[in-house]
């Protein structure tokens, strides 16, 4: 007798993922897709793809989607959600997209308490354009535009989005998670699912920041990249729940 123990989530299309081997983007896609299916909201969800390695996520999530200009995902999401309040609207954004060019759109969507969910992939680099410095790059981190390592003097410190957004009233749920081992992947799934659950309950702005990886542009093997996200990134970006209005 055959028994299906594991299959690809119905929340993903059959399109081949465009991500590099060992990149955490793929893991997070799976968690988002599974959450939408398990919550029974896939057929009323609208994904907003951003500009970055995840630009093609509109082809991967098995639901309606819009592809946003660089940084504007939260503005599109606001536009959609305001006219379709009964639909589920989420953005999927990188750190360049969200924390640099799109920080205004993101902060104001959060401050208005837009009832949307933001999946924020922090890999401390601009993946898609070939490894330039991101606002989230670590001090000392070598990138193609900080070849001797990022300095505080020249570029400032890595921007801590979750810490910053925790101060915003309109945020209903905010957690920073990681994807470097099964335990943390399971926890990331819980956080993502909870964020969508809160959106279903109209609680306000929800965001899950994922401390992610970019083995290719970090110049590391996938396993080393996972290790680096744990050992170098996590101390700068500590994991945990930064805001949970459900618990208040």
């Amino acid at each position: 007798m055959w028994e299906v123990k594991y299959e690809k989530s119905q929340g993903l299309t059959d399109s081949k993922l465009s991500y590099c081997p060992g990149c955490a983007h793929g893991i997070i896609h799976k968690l988002v897709a599974e959450s939408l299916v398990e919550l029974g909201i896939l057929d009323r969800s609208i994904a907003i793809a951003s500009v970055g390695c995840s630009v093609f996520s509109y082809q991967f999530f098995n639901c309606d989607a819009q592809q946003a200009p660089h940084g504007r995902a939260c503005a599109l999401a606001t536009g959609v959600k305001r006219v379709l309040p009964d639909n589920i609207v989420f953005t999927y954004q990188g750190d360049g997209d969200l924390a640099s060019i799109g920080i205004a759109e993101t902060i104001h969507a959060a401050n208005r308490g837009e009832n949307i969910t933001v999946i924020f992939i922090n890999n401390a680099i601009y993946g898609m354009t070939g490894g330039q410095m991101a606002p989230t790059s670590l001090i000392g981190q070598k990138t193609t535009t900080s070849q001797d390592g990022r300095t505080q003097k020249n570029h400032g410190n890595p921007i801590k989005i979750s810490e910053m957004f925790a101060t915003i009233e309109g945020v209903a749920y905010l957690e920073r998670v990681a994807a470097y081992d099964p335990k943390h992947v399971l926890n990331a799934k819980k956080a993502i699912k909870k964020a969508f659950q809160y959106q279903m309950e109209n609680r306000g702005f929800t965001m899950v920041e994922v401390v992610s990886t970019c083995p290719v542009n970090w110049g590391m093997k996938p396993v080393d990249a996972m290790k680096w996200s744990k050992e170098a990134m996590e101390p700068v970006y500590p994991l945990g729940v930064f805001k949970d209005k459900g618990r208040e």
Partner: protein
């Protein structure tokens, strides 16, 4: 509804409501503030969406989202604000989403002034966004014509899946005229928005996607060709202009919007002096009414382009004229409005005005 006395910007807002607007997203800027102010009151009260965004960049992208979701959506702004919207406009046009953009021009460049101007003709017809795209641009000359245009604009945008821009200047926005909101509008076929991203449960078996990314150049070229073909259809169907006093003109003026209003007075004054002057008044700036120029009699002494700018529509006049007649230019800029007498003088001294 009988005739009412109304300010241009408020009339724009009410006409949009009559046209069925579902949502407005915008950012304050003079001289168009009465548009969002009026809508904030009347849209929210009727269960529709009004949102003051954090910037014009954000506002136009909210428009993208809501237009993609299949709703009738608009924004309005003025020169520096329209400049910021260009990125979003390019994307919306590329993704073939309908919306209404109202542009109430003020003096530029830079922060410029808040006085009326037509310095954004290039911005409206050439755009500042990237790529081969066009807006359908209407340039009404009165509040009544603005109302009639806006009421129809959502039907036009929906039909072509393309943004419509209604381009006026601060004078039309700020002045008051007696207007009628119930004039009949053209019956148009408005297709079902079966492409709207409103959840697959509304269209099982098909995912709807609003997108402008085509990494394969052959595919992107096909997309460009498709858009180009659409613009050709728009040229054929939507080009609009008015010919004024075209019986036997000695000279022909070309002017749009507020400048056309001023030229009407100048034409009357010239007629009283025995000088017959006709006018081509483009109502659509894209598509540009090149056809109108075929009706200019062989024997006219010249064409005078009049603008509230240093000469932008002039380019389209030169293209449409194609070297046939002498073309002159009269312009005021920076928010300065000419008296009709200045245009009378420009016609009388046409030879000093000739540019080509």
């Amino acid at each position: 509804m009988a005739k009412v006395l109304m300010k241009g910007n408020e009339a724009i807002a009410l006409a949009a409501i009559k046209g069925g607007v579902d949502a407005f997203y915008g950012y304050p800027i003079t001289p168009q503030n009465e548009v969002p102010e009026y809508l904030s009151k009347h849209l929210l009260a009727n269960g529709k969406v009004f949102l003051q965004a954090e910037s014009e960049v954000s506002a136009i992208n909210m428009v993208y989202g809501a237009a993609g979701a299949g709703k009738r959506v608009m924004t309005s702004s003025s020169s520096p604000g329209i400049a910021l919207k260009q990125e979003g406009i390019s994307y919306i046009t590329a993704a073939e989403l309908p919306c209404l953009i109202v542009s109430v021009m003020r003096g530029g460049p830079g922060l410029g002034s808040i006085q009326p101007s037509q310095g954004d003709y290039y911005q409206a017809t050439r755009g500042g966004g990237n790529g081969d795209y066009h807006l359908i641009v209407f340039a009404p000359e009165s509040i009544q014509e603005t109302i009639d245009t806006i009421k129809e604009s959502f039907d036009i945008a929906d039909y072509y899946r393309n943004p419509v821009m209604v381009l006026v200047d601060g004078l039309i926005g700020q002045m008051m005229e007696s207007v009628d909101f119930d004039r009949p509008k053209k019956e148009r076929f408005v297709p079902e928005k079966d492409w709207a991203t409103n959840g697959t449960k509304n269209h099982p078996g098909r995912r709807n996607i609003a997108n402008s990314l085509y990494l394969d150049p052959a595919e992107l070229e096909q997309h460009n060709i498709k858009l180009h073909q659409k613009y050709e259809v728009i040229k054929k169907n939507e080009t609009k202009f008015e010919l004024i006093d075209f019986d036997n003109p000695e000279y022909v003026i070309v002017a749009y919007g507020t400048m056309a209003r001023i030229c009407r007075s100048a034409i009357e004054m010239l007629k009283n002096e025995g000088i017959e002057v006709g006018m081509i008044r483009p109502i659509t700036l894209f598509p540009y009414p090149e056809k109108a120029f075929e009706q200019i009699p062989e024997n006219v002494k010249g064409i005078l382009t009049c603008e509230l700018s240093m000469g932008q529509m002039l380019d389209d006049v030169l293209i449409a004229n194609n070297g046939k007649h002498k073309v002159g230019f009269f312009g005021r800029a920076g928010g300065m409005l000419p008296d009709p007498e200045e245009i009378v003088g420009a016609i009388k001294n046409f030879n000093e005005r000739v540019v080509k």
